[in-house]
C-alpha cells in the first residue's frame, strides 16, 4: 500500500460519506464543550426538538468565565448566567460536566488529555480554536463555530473538505534552555500567521520527538496561530506512557491492544505531504513577541524592528500599527522592555511541567518591585499536583499570586485582566490588541522567560540565569 500520513489515515477512517467534489461527512469521536460557545447551540437543539445524539462522546467543562479567586461566588451576573446555562443544558441533555466544584474542572484543552479523553487516532472537536492542542496525541483535533457545535451535538458528524497536509520539520537538536514555546513562536515568526491556512500540520523531527507530551501540547496548541486547521504529532512511546492509567483509557490487555493500533497510525516512512517547511532547531532562541500578532516575535537578543523592515507595503503598515499599539520604539532591545504584569497560565503553558520550569527559576527569588505576577494553573488537577510538590509555596514566597484554574488573563473574560496601557509578559497564545484587556500590551513568552521577567522586571535570557539562580 502507498505510504500514508497520519492525517490521511485518520481522515479515511472517519468518513461516513465521501462523494467526489463535496465535503465529506466526518464522524466525531470526542466533542468537548465549554460555556461560551455552546449556549446558542443547545438552544438550537431545544427549538428544533433534537436530542444530543451521543452524550457519551460529549464532555463539558466551564473555564472561560470562572473566577480564579472565590470561584464559588461569581459576581458578574452575565458570566453567572452563562455558567448556569451550561449546567442546565448538560443536565437536560445528559452530558457529563466537570463543573466549577469538580476536581476535574479546568481549561478544556488541559482536562481532555488529563482525563485520557484525548487519544491517538480520534477526531476531536470543540467550539474553541485551540482544540488543535489535542493533536499532540496524534488525534485530528480542530476548533469549530457554534453552528457546527449544534451540528455535532445533533448528528455526531461534521461536513469537512479533505485537508491539505504540511510537514513542519524541526531539524536537529534544540539548544539547552530553549523550550517548546520558543519552537512554535519561532515557526510562526519564520513562516507567518497564515502559512498553515487550509492545512493540517504534522510536526516532525528529532527536536519534536524529544519533547514530553506536555511540551508537544504547547506546540500543537498554537497551530491555529499559524492559520492551520489543526496540527498534530504522530504518537510514540511517550504518548502511550502518558495515557496509561488515565480515567478514560482502557486498562490491561485492552490497553495493550490499543497501543498496537495506535502504533500503526504514525506516518509511514516515505509518505508524501502537500507541502513541507523546515526550521533548523539550532537557530531557535528563547522568544519574545513585540507586536500584536504571534508572528511578530524575535529572539531574546533581538531588537524591535523598524516599519521599513517590512517586506511589503501591507507588512510595513502592519508593523507600524503594532508598534503604535505596543508603544515601542523601533530598535529597542528586547532585554530593555519592562513589564508590569506577569501571567503564567492558559491552555498553552499551564500544565504541571510548565509550573515546574518556572518554579526552578523563581525559587529563592523575589518578584521585582512594581510587578503584579500571578500563576493560574490550567486545571484543578494541576493545581493540586503543584501544591503537593510545594510549588505554590515557591511562587507565593516570591510574591506571585496563586489562583484557582481557568482561562483567566489569557482573555480577561473573568475579573483578571491587564489595565489599559500596561505591559504583560504572558505564557498564553495571543497578543492581539485588547486580548488581555482593553489597551493591554501583551508579550508572549515561555514559562521560564515569564519567570525571568517577573524577577528582573524586564526580559532576560533565562539560559544565562541557570547557574546563578537555580543552584
Amino acid at each position: 500500500m502507498k505510504p500514508r500520513t497520519i492525517i490521511d489515515k485518520i481522515w479515511n477512517e472517519h468518513a461516513v460519506r465521501a462523494e467526489a467534489g463535496k465535503p465529506n461527512l466526518m464522524y466525531v469521536d470526542l466533542h468537548m464543550v465549554h460555556e461560551v460557545t455552546s449556549p446558542q447551540a443547545f438552544e438550537g437543539l431545544r427549538l428544533s426538538g433534537r436530542p444530543v445524539r451521543r452524550p457519551d462522546l460529549t464532555f463539558a467543562t466551564m473555564d472561560h468565565n470562572v473566577p480564579t479567586l472565590n470561584r464559588e461566588s461569581i459576581t458578574d451576573a452575565i458570566s453567572k448566567k452563562q455558567i448556569d446555562t451550561l449546567f442546565d443544558n448538560c443536565k437536560e441533555f445528559g452530558v457529563e460536566l466537570a463543573d466549577i466544584h469538580s476536581p476535574n474542572n479546568g481549561i478544556v484543552h488541559i482536562i481532555g488529555p488529563e482525563l485520557g479523553l484525548t487519544q491517538p487516532g480520534k477526531t476531536i472537536v470543540c467550539g474553541d480554536s485551540h482544540t488543535s492542542t489535542h493533536g499532540a496525541f496524534g488525534a485530528l483535533a480542530f476548533g469549530i463555530g457554534t453552528s457546527e457545535v449544534e451540528h455535532v451535538l445533533a448528528t455526531q458528524t461534521l461536513w469537512q473538505s479533505p485537508p491539505k497536509t504540511m510537514e513542519v520539520h524541526v531539524d536537529g537538536r534544540l539548544g539547552t534552555g530553549v523550550t517548546a514555546k520558543d519552537i512554535i513562536l519561532s515557526i510562526i515568526a519564520k513562516f507567518g500567521v497564515d502559512f498553515g491556512s487550509g492545512y493540517v500540520l504534522e510536526y516532525t523531527g528529532e527536536a519534536i520527538r524529544g519533547l514530553t507530551m506536555e511540551e508537544r501540547m504547547t506546540i500543537c496548541n498554537m497551530s491555529i496561530e499559524a492559520g492551520a486547521r489543526a496540527g498534530l504529532i504522530s504518537p510514540d512511546q511517550v504518548t502511550f506512557d502518558y495515557l496509561k492509567d488515565r480515567r478514560f483509557v482502557p486498562e490491561g490487555a485492552e490497553f495493550d491492544e490499543k497501543v498496537e493500533q495506535w502504533r500503526q497510525l504514525a506516518t509511514d516512512e516515505g509518505a508524501e505531504y502537500d507541502e513541507r517547511v523546515v526550521i533548523p532547531a539550532d537557530e531557535i532562541e528563547p522568544m519574545v513577541t513585540w507586536g500584536t500578532n504571534p508572528s511578530q516575535g524575535v529572539g531574546i537578543h533581538g531588537t524591535v524592528p523598524y516599519p521599513e523592515d517590512g517586506k511589503s507595503a501591507t507588512e510595513k503598515k502592519v508593523i507600524k500599527t503594532s508598534l503604535d499599539y505596543m508603544a515601542l520604539e523601533p530598535g529597542t532591545k528586547i532585554t530593555d522592555i519592562h513589564v508590569q504584569h506577569v501571567f503564567l497560565g492558559s491552555c498553552t503553558n499551564a500544565r504541571i511541567g510548565d509550573l515546574r520550569e518556572a518554579a526552578k527559576i523563581i525559587r529563592g527569588n523575589k518578584v521585582a518591585d512594581g510587578i503584579r505576577a500571578m500563576v493560574v494553573p490550567g486545571s484543578q488537577q494541576v493545581k493540586m499536583q503543584a501544591e503537593e510538590e510545594g510549588l505554590d509555596q515557591v511562587f507565593k514566597e516570591a510574591g506571585f499570586e496563586w489562583r484557582d484554574s481557568g482561562c483567566s488573563m489569557c482573555l480577561g473574560m473573568n475579573p483578571d485582566f491587564v489595565p489599559e496601557g500596561e505591559r504583560c509578559a504572558s505564557t498564553s497564545n495571543r497578543n492581539f490588541e485588547g486580548r488581555q484587556g482593553k489597551g493591554a500590551r501583551t508579550h508572549l513568552v515561555s514559562p521560564a522567560m515569564a519567570a525571568g521577567a517577573a524577577i528582573y522586571g524586564h526580559f532576560v535570557d533565562v539560559r544565562k540565569l541557570d547557574q546563578t539562580v537555580s543552584s
Binding site: L25, Y27, V36, R53, E148, Q156
Partner: protein, 196 residues
Amino acid sequence: MEALTVHEGNTAVLERANVDTDQIIPKQFLKRVERTGFGQFLFFDWRFKSDGEEDPSFELNYPSAANASILIADHNFGSGSSREHAPWALQDYGFRVIIAPSYSDIFYNNCVKNGILPVRLPEDQVYELMQNGNDKEYHLTVDLQNQQISDKDADFQATFEIDPYWKEMLLNGWDEISITLQYEEDIEAYEKRVKV
C-alpha cells in the same frame, strides 16, 4: 437561514490586514446566551471612543460607509478565536457579503453557516475596490448564482470561486442539520461498523 442569491448594497472598506475576531467582537460581549443583538458591539473597541461616542476616524463610521452591507477587507480576515459571535455581529449590523483576499478557515465556515457570503478575490482586485470605495459611497452587485461582482457602471467586474456545496447552501438558505439527518442511516451504519 435567509437565502442569498443576488445582493446589491453599499460597501465599507476596512484597510487592515489580520483583523481578528477579538476585534470584530471583543470578548466582553461574548457572555450573552442568545444568537441575536451582537451588531451593537461589532468592532466595539475601534468604533467607539472611551467616552462611548462614535469614533469618526474608524472606517465604519465614515459617512461613505452608511448602511453598508458589503465589507471589503484585507488578508487573513477573521483570524484567531473561533467565536461565531463574529459573523453574528457582522450580520446583525447589516453585512451580507465580505470581500477579502483571504480568510481564516473557521471564520469562513462560520460565515457561510450564517448566510454571509465570504468572497475571495485576488489582492489587486480587492485593493481596486478599496480605492473605489474608501472615500465615497460605492455600490456593488454580488451575484452568487453566476459568481460575479460588478459596480453600477460596470467599471469593475470580477468573477469569484466558491465551493459548490457552500454555494448551494447559501442560495437555498438551507439548514445543514436537516441535510445531514437525511444520512442518518449512514451514521448508524458507521457507528455499528467501528463500534463507537
